[in-house]
């Protein structure tokens, strides 16, 4: 910030000394650039970093699902327990990273959008808690490992897909909506493919989808930053 603000820190000292009405730079273009820089740094301080979060989930899905794919055991008819533990750790890591990042950025912001964000966050928690009850019920009813694998994966991915589409609608972010729609397609396709192909599709198309969104976002942000600095 201070780099593109010629008399920033010194002007502040002057304010303390009593000269409170320091005029901004006299060139309109410089003032507009200062405003744009301030707005950009504010957005960086209060809004979650899309590429970072998409990237974290992309890596977690890519590696986590690949682990499920390679630890698939034909005789068990499912991936090994170790495979699921490693997969779970990757997802928990991405979840913890997301929670800390979003909480940090959103701290100190109150009002309409904070309430919307909280409702959105709770929607994830409630949906996944209820999905776990559904899986427990299916297991109790005697669902085979294959049925369990298809349902657990399909329902979870569908929740992610719907939440991303809803998030895109909520914050009017097309990329987020498109990513959700893509995950829905991937989840549907993965359910039709015999095990362990499901996990390979989830890793490459699902995790890959997150990474494509992350790079797309990053590219767009860079381009926008370049444009706003004359």
């Amino acid at each position: 910030m201070s780099a593109d603000e010629p008399d920033g820190p010194r002007a502040h000292e002057a304010d303390v000394a009593g000269r409170a009405d320091d005029a901004p730079p006299s060139d309109p273009a410089a003032v507009l650039a200062m405003i744009a820089a301030q707005r950009a740094s504010t957005r960086k301080g209060v809004e979650p970093n899309g590429p970072l979060l998409f990237g974290a989930w992309g890596v977690a899905w890519l590696i986590g699902y690949l682990v499920l794919y390679v630890t698939y055991d034909e005789t068990l008819g499912r991936s090994t327990a170790w495979g699921f533990v490693v997969f779970g750790l990757f997802l928990l890591g991405a979840l913890a990273f997301t929670a800390v990042h979003v909480a940090r950025r959103a701290s100190g912001v109150r009002g309409a959008s904070a309430a919307a964000g909280a409702m959105y966050g709770w929607s994830w928690v409630i949906a996944f808690m209820m999905a776990c009850l559904l899986f427990a019920g299916l297991s109790r009813a005697g669902a085979s490992p294959e049925v369990m694998a298809i349902t657990a994966n399909g329902v979870s991915a569908l929740i992610v897909a719907v939440m991303y589409m809803a998030g895109g609608a909520l914050w009017r972010v097309w990329r987020m909506f498109a990513l959700g729609a893509w995950i829905a397609v991937v989840a549907g396709a993965a359910a039709l493919i015999p095990q362990p192909g499901t996990y390979l599709v989830m890793a490459l198309a699902g995790g890959g989808g997150f990474l494509v969104a992350a790079f797309g976002d990053l590219h767009q942000t860079r381009r926008r930053t370049k444009r706003s600095v004359p």
């Binding site: 409170a20 320091d22 901004p24 707005r39 504010t42 912001v109």
Partner: protein
């Protein structure tokens, strides 16, 4: 740059940065004082002085409350403040077009 057309409340570097920061939030959103201070890299005393001036002009709403036992201050741009910031930037853009 013509000084007459520009709003004197906003046409001061520190207050312009305060208003630009608050205008980046959606309408109806408030920012906690420490967060605003961090985003602006200003001292608490300096920021308070400018916020008081913005409050006098009815551009900023200062909401002091208690969160549990600790006091908290939230800042929000009023409709009037948002309109003032928009017309300030529009004036700058018009000046820039005129200069080209």
């Amino acid at each position: 740059m013509s000084e007459i057309e520009l709003d004197p409340v906003i046409h001061a570097q520190a207050r312009l940065r305060v208003v630009a920061t608050l205008a980046t939030l959606d309408e109806g959103d408030r920012l906690a004082f420490p967060k605003l201070q961090k985003l602006l890299e200003m001292t608490a005393g300096n920021l308070s002085t400018h916020l008081r001036k913005l409050e006098e002009a009815d551009y900023v709403l200062i909401d002091k409350r208690f969160e549990g036992r600790s006091p908290a201050t939230y800042l929000e741009l009023t409709k009037k403040g948002r309109r003032a910031f928009e017309s300030y930037t529009e004036t700058l853009e018009a000046l820039l077009r005129g200069a080209q």
